[in-house]
């Protein structure tokens, strides 16, 4: 009962701390969201050797581009060290708009389901409801979490892709990386979509100028390697032995990805530093002010015989309780804010990721900083004589 009253006495302090911690956690959650996106991409590119047909599409897996014929895929599979080659097609869902921001890009991914996924880090994708694609599937789709949320799709829903109807048979878990905005279909369905989307490809096929069959229509391939082999060495071997392909070394692609996201990384550091400074200053200032406001109480308590140690212990216990409550309140406030923005303003994108490490870190940070500020303020107050403390507090 008395503890509750003590906290009520600190109501504005708790609110001040909650607002500071909410700012810290909200900014941190946005940083975590971007970190997860970059880490997810990095994990993906390090799990496979990405090969594209030589041509416009230099980055297999990110845009439609140069054709990777079936014969080339067979040649890749015969390179020593290679284990598993999965033909793929990646197409922008809407080719009429710029896709320079991959954070929001929606893609159609067609996969050859007769081959197990070679990516070592994504053997399977986590399905939240329904099922994943199977060999022989036709006109069915598995959609990413953000894609489903933005269109209100669930298992059994239908969606139109290039004027063809598809049934949604599965929705993925939210992964906070690229597949959240994917529509996954069988490679045959993706080939049909590619032809429908690309007038130049239709013209080439109709002219008979290139001897292409359906199985030649691939934008790239995901290539696996045998256990014990060095993926970069296998990639170099593919480069040497198979003409007409663009091969990305996993380590090089990872480096490229990281350098292309260096801006985001710098932004994250800036946001993090800002969050720490603003949130930390707000919290420390609020806590110290709360102690300074009680200067007269400290004077009275010392007059009654309290030693510096007794007062320090008392303030420490109170500040821990206050910062704990304020910190938890701030986390709740930030989560509510994040939920509201994600739900109503972010068009089904998840802008915040409240990771356990962020929440625990923010709470520990607020408690430690609050306690430090309270102890500092108490040390300043008890350095005064009791009479002076009473005079100043009057």
């Amino acid at each position: 009962m008395r503890s509750l009253r003590v906290l009520r006495g600190y109501l504005f302090t708790v609110l001040g701390i909650a607002i500071g911690v909410a700012g810290l956690v909200a900014l941190g959650a946005m940083s975590e969201r971007i970190v997860r996106f970059i880490e997810g991409g990095d994990r993906f590119v390090l799990g496979q050797i990405s090969v594209a047909g030589r041509g416009m599409g230099m980055g297999t897996g990110f845009t439609a581009g140069g054709i990777l014929p079936a014969a080339t895929i067979r040649a890749i599979s015969e390179v020593p060290g290679v284990q598993g080659v999965q033909a793929q097609i990646m197409l922008p869902l809407d080719p009429s708009t710029s896709q320079f921001m991959t954070v929001t890009q929606e893609l159609v991914l067609g996969m050859d389901l007769s081959v197990p996924t070679p990516n070592r880090h994504y053997r399977t994708l986590p399905v939240r409801s329904g099922r994943f694609l199977r060999q022989g599937d036709h006109k069915v789709a598995v959609v990413g979490a953000s894609f489903a949320a933005s269109r209100g799709l669930s298992v059994g829903s239908h969606l139109m892709l290039e004027d063809e109807g598809y049934e949604v048979v599965g929705v993925l878990d939210r992964m906070l990386t690229a597949p959240d905005r994917f529509v996954m279909v069988s490679i045959d369905d993706a080939r049909a979509q590619w032809v429908a989307k690309d007038r130049l490809l239709r013209t080439v096929l109709a002219s008979g100028g290139m001897a292409l069959t359906a199985s030649d229509l691939n934008t790239g391939a995901a290539v696996g390697w045998r256990d014990g082999d060095d993926p970069d060495a296998v990639a170099l071997r593919i480069k040497e032995r198979v003409p007409g392909v663009n091969v990305q070394l996993p380590s090089e692609l990872s480096r490229l990805l990281r350098s292309s996201t260096a801006f985001f990384s710098a932004l994250l550091i800036g946001i993090g530093a800002l969050a720490f400074v603003i949130g930390g200053l707000s919290l420390a200032n609020t806590m110290a002010a709360a102690v300074f406001e009680r200067i007269r109480d400290f004077g009275v308590k010392r007059a009654l015989g309290a030693t510096d140690l007794q007062l320090g212990r008392e303030v420490l216990a109170e500040s821990l309780a206050v910062t704990m409550v304020g910190g938890l309140g701030g986390i709740g406030l930030a989560r509510a804010l994040g939920w509201f923005i994600d739900r109503y303003l972010a068009q089904a994108q998840q802008l915040f990721h409240f990771s356990p490490r962020l929440l625990v870190g923010a709470l520990a940070f607020s408690i430690l900083l609050g306690a430090a500020a309270a102890i500092y303020a108490t040390a300043r107050v008890v350095s005064l004589s009791p009479a002076e403390a009473i005079r100043r507090g009057a």
Partner: protein, 222 residues
């Protein structure tokens, strides 16, 4: 019980010049005695009481509580000495606003490690003696000035200190409430406690064992 010799205290004016408030105060108060110090406002009465009660350090002189030279003690030991030897009564009561009347009284026991059911019973008994037991769950803001000072009196005597220091204890009270507090102080003196009262009210001197006037930084007998 209380012996002070050669107490000196100066403050510095904003211009930097020292203002001597106590210029060699000698005072002895035995158990059962009431010493009343009068003097005009600004004469240094409160400063004298603060120095005697170890609420601030003097610039010179010595203070003894019983056989202990408390003026020579360190910070923590002075705090413990205040808790053990001294009960304070202030003009502005100085109750903690976040605590109930009973909790304010019990606060005195917290720092001398006397908290417990017996202390609580004693606190309630004291509040009954001065007529505020029915207000024990009220907060200071819900009490009149007279009630607040009676609660403050209970806090001052809870630990049975051998020395009571009262700084204008009736300054913010009407005559009736002032009389209650002064009677209570006299009662403590009769029980063997040494009491020092600083006041400019003449009725405070009634029943005093010794009456002093603080003038020019020294105590004079009128």
């Amino acid at each position: 019980m209380l012996r002070a010799a050669g107490l000196v205290k100066s403050y510095r004016a904003p211009a930097g010049t020292p203002i001597r408030v106590l210029a060699g105060v000698d005072l002895t108060v035995k158990g059962g005695e009431i010493a009343v110090v009068t003097g005009p406002s600004g004469s240094g009465k409160s400063t004298l009481l603060n120095v005697l009660g170890l609420l601030e350090d003097g610039d010179g002189g010595e203070i003894w509580f019983e056989d202990t030279r408390v003026s020579a003690l360190g910070r923590a030991a002075k705090s413990r000495a205040r808790g053990r030897y001294v009960g304070f009564l202030f003009q502005s009561f100085l109750l903690l606003p976040s605590l109930t009347a009973l909790e304010n009284v019990l606060l005195a026991a917290r720092y001398v490690h006397r908290s417990g059911p017996a202390t609580r019973r004693r606190a309630i008994g004291l509040m009954q003696e001065v007529g505020v037991a029915d207000r024990m769950d009220h907060f200071p803001a819900q009490l009149s000035g007279g009630e607040q000072q009676r609660v403050a009196f209970c806090r001052a005597v809870l630990n049975d200190p051998p020395l009571l220091l009262a700084d204008e204890p009736t300054g913010n009270l009407d005559d009736a409430n002032g009389a209650v507090i002064l009677d209570a102080l006299r009662g403590r003196a009769r029980a063997g406690v040494a009491v020092v009262v600083v006041s400019h009210r003449p009725e405070a001197a009634v029943g005093a064992s010794a009456l002093y006037r603080l003038r020019g930084g020294v105590l004079e007998s009128p």
